[in-house]
């Protein structure tokens, strides 16, 4: 298992490096941010000074070397806007995103599993049809539209929830979570339903029933554990999407997370912060993928054995 982890981490380093390089190159393609930060009537001398102070006057490969040597020391430079360490800013914003994503995924998994199982027990029954329609709708609605609709109905018309920010305590969480969890919950319902229908129709479930196992034991002990791997794959993808999609929803709800930081950094050409925010997002996605692989191994002995044999 440890060998497996070590190898996974090592093979993750290459794509991680690609992301770190990519964000550097793409940011530089947008041009020199000096014009954005200095007043229009700034003297040529002042512009040169600003460029030199932030290293923008050096050739691009030299900037890249500076950047990379910083990255390996986990130093992403300082923010042009605030003068603060970019890494510190990213790390400060990250927990807000992580909390939102974790709570959302937890709820989406609970709802998806419960509704999916329920629908699978009576395929094509009323519950199945209704939940299929709802989950399909939920999975297809774009979240930025839903976010705006939610703000309009609950914050403006009814006035029961805050429009944005985190100052209203628990209430601030309601709309962002509701908007974010709808799609994952809908997709997971469909995946769990499909996996459970095939698990419940399998011979080992028949055998379990022939031993006198009740419905609860059949579902929870025999079918669900077999249906879990496909759901886990999809849940992992959805969680990644949630962290990526945070840019949109956090901007709409003024949520002080990594997504908002990222958008602000792009708008301000705050390269150091942008690079730090992208790096932390990429690292979290790699960690998530490794966690999913570990989840597979825990669920299924056949995977464990394969991993053990390959190590």
């Amino acid at each position: 298992m440890l060998t497996f982890l070590r190898r996974r981490v090592l093979t993750s380093l290459l794509p991680l490096l690609a992301v770190v390089l990519g964000v550097f190159v793409l940011a530089r393609l947008t041009g020199n941010p000096t014009a954005l930060y200095l007043p229009e009537n700034a003297t040529a001398q002042a512009r040169e000074q600003f460029s030199a102070a932030n290293g923008f006057d050096k050739p691009i490969w030299s900037q890249l070397l500076d950047y990379l040597s910083g990255v390996v020391r986990l130093d992403f430079g300082t923010s042009l806007r605030t003068g603060e360490s970019a890494a510190v800013m990213a790390l400060r914003a990250f927990p807000a995103t992580l909390q939102l994503a974790a709570v959302t995924m937890l709820l989406a998994c609970l709802v998806g599993t419960a509704v999916g199982c329920w629908a699978a027990l009576r395929p094509n029954g009323l519950a199945d049809r209704v939940s299929s329609l709802l989950s399909m709708t939920a999975a297809s609605v774009p979240d930025f539209w839903l976010a705006i609709l939610g703000i309009w109905v609950f914050a403006i018309m009814l006035g029961v929830l805050p429009t944005s920010g985190v100052d209203a305590g628990g209430l601030s969480w309601v709309l962002p979570i509701a908007v974010l969890m709808l799609r994952p919950a809908g997709v997971l319902t469909q995946v769990v339903r499909g996996a459970m229908i095939s698990a419940l129709g399998s011979p080992y479930v028949k055998v379990a029933r022939s031993k006198g196992a009740g419905e609860r034991r059949v579902v929870a002990r025999h079918a669900l554990k077999n249906a879990a791997p496909p759901a886990l794959t999809v849940a992992g993808d959805l969680a990644v999407g949630l962290i990526n999609g945070a840019v949109v929803v956090e901007s709409i709800f003024g949520w002080p997370g990594i997504g908002k930081l990222l958008i602000d950094a792009i708008l301000q050409r705050d390269f150091a912060v942008l690079q730090a925010a992208v790096a932390i997002t990429a690292i979290s996605i790699f960690v998530l993928n490794i966690a999913i692989d570990i989840g597979y191994a825990l669920l299924d002995a056949r995977v464990r054995q394969k991993v053990g044999a390959a190590a």
């Binding site: 028949k206 055998v207 031993k211 006198g212 002995a301």
Partner: protein, 324 residues
């Protein structure tokens, strides 16, 4: 005569499909005695597995029992509540399925699966149930059960997996054991071991065994009584040696003639021409008429009932005439 383990009478199973409704099992009756083996013999699609599933109450949703009764210990399994059925599943009636690879849950340890009958029916604590599982594994001939109890199904060979399935089925010494093609997926050498194990357990637990198979050799070797099924019906039944010695139904005779015999080495192997009728287009009269070498007008007009003619139960209009 030995005690009756299970009495099936008039069992009828209908399939509802987009093509219409049809009878997959049509008025099947037989009696299984304790300590004996009754073989349900027939080719694929004759309704023998459907009969087994109907008895244990595990039919697919498209199939439903429309008539008949299954008496075990004074109770009609087809009439009791679902809860009572679950209570009987294991201690009274048990089934061994054909494909042991898919019949064992791939993500649960075999020990957990073997312990389940004790956990469910006797509410035994996990530790004791595990000890019982080890005991069961040893009993059905699995080497080193103490270390193998925590293994997963894929870590066992086909024969060992079938042993595990059988162990699970006999855990609570049921009165009736249905074995649905238990050796079909196995090598010939392993087949013999599994059949021997079944016979040993049948004697130990005094079980009535219903052996479902298409293998004439298995029937000849293992069964006391045979019921030959064709197109959802039993067409001939009786003690195995009598039926095999002197088959009265043309179908039974056709089956027996298609077995290669040592003395006729080099001769052409005979076979029954044609195929069983489409379940959705069973002709009136005898279902075997299209393949029967002796077919007459009465066979096309009237369905023969399973009647005792000349001392044996046969469903054929010509039964008397064909006895030698």
């Amino acid at each position: 005569m030995t005690a009756i383990g299970m009495e099936v009478s008039g069992l009828t199973v209908e399939l509802t499909t987009p093509r219409g409704t049809t009878r997959a099992v049509d008025g099947v009756s037989f009696t299984a005695h304790r300590g004996r083996t009754l073989a349900l013999l027939g080719e694929s699609g004759c309704g023998k597995s459907m009969t087994a599933q109907a008895i244990v109450g595990l039919l697919e949703p498209i199939a439903s029992v429309t008539a008949g009764s299954v008496q075990v210990d004074g109770e009609d399994l087809l009439k009791v509540s679902r809860k009572r059925r679950r209570q009987l599943a294991g201690p009274t009636l048990s089934i061994v399925f054909q494909d042991a690879l898919t019949a064992l849950n791939p993500v649960l340890k075999v020990g957990t699966q073997l312990a389940e009958p004790y956990r469910i029916h006797q509410r035994m604590p996990a530790k004791r149930a595990r000890a019982k599982a080890i005991e069961l594994m040893r009993h059905v001939g699995i080497p080193e059960p103490e270390s193998r109890v925590d293994s997963y199904p894929h870590q066992f060979s086909g024969g060992m997996r079938q042993r595990l399935l059988i162990a699970m089925a006999v855990a609570l010494s049921p009165k009736v054991l249905i074995a649905d093609e238990p050796t079909t997926a196995l090598d010939v050498t392993v087949q013999a071991q599994i059949l021997a194990l079944l016979a040993q357990l049948r004697k130990e637990h005094d079980m009535a065994v219903v052996l479902i198979t298409h293998d004439l050799a298995v029937v000849a070797e293992e069964a006391d009584t045979v019921a030959v099924m064709y197109s959802g019906r039993i067409v001939e039944t009786g003690p195995v040696d009598e039926v095999f010695e002197d088959p009265r139904h043309p179908y039974t005779r056709g089956l027996l003639d298609s077995v290669p015999v040592e003395t006729e080495r080099g001769a052409d192997l005979s076979s029954i021409p044609g195929a069983p009728p489409d379940l959705f287009a069973i002709p009136p009269g005898c279902p075997y008429q299209a393949r029967c070498p002796l077919v007459q007008d009465v066979c096309r007009a009237e369905r023969p009932a399973l009647e005792t003619r000349a001392g044996r139960a046969v469903a054929c209009h010509l039964a008397e005439g064909t006895a030698q």
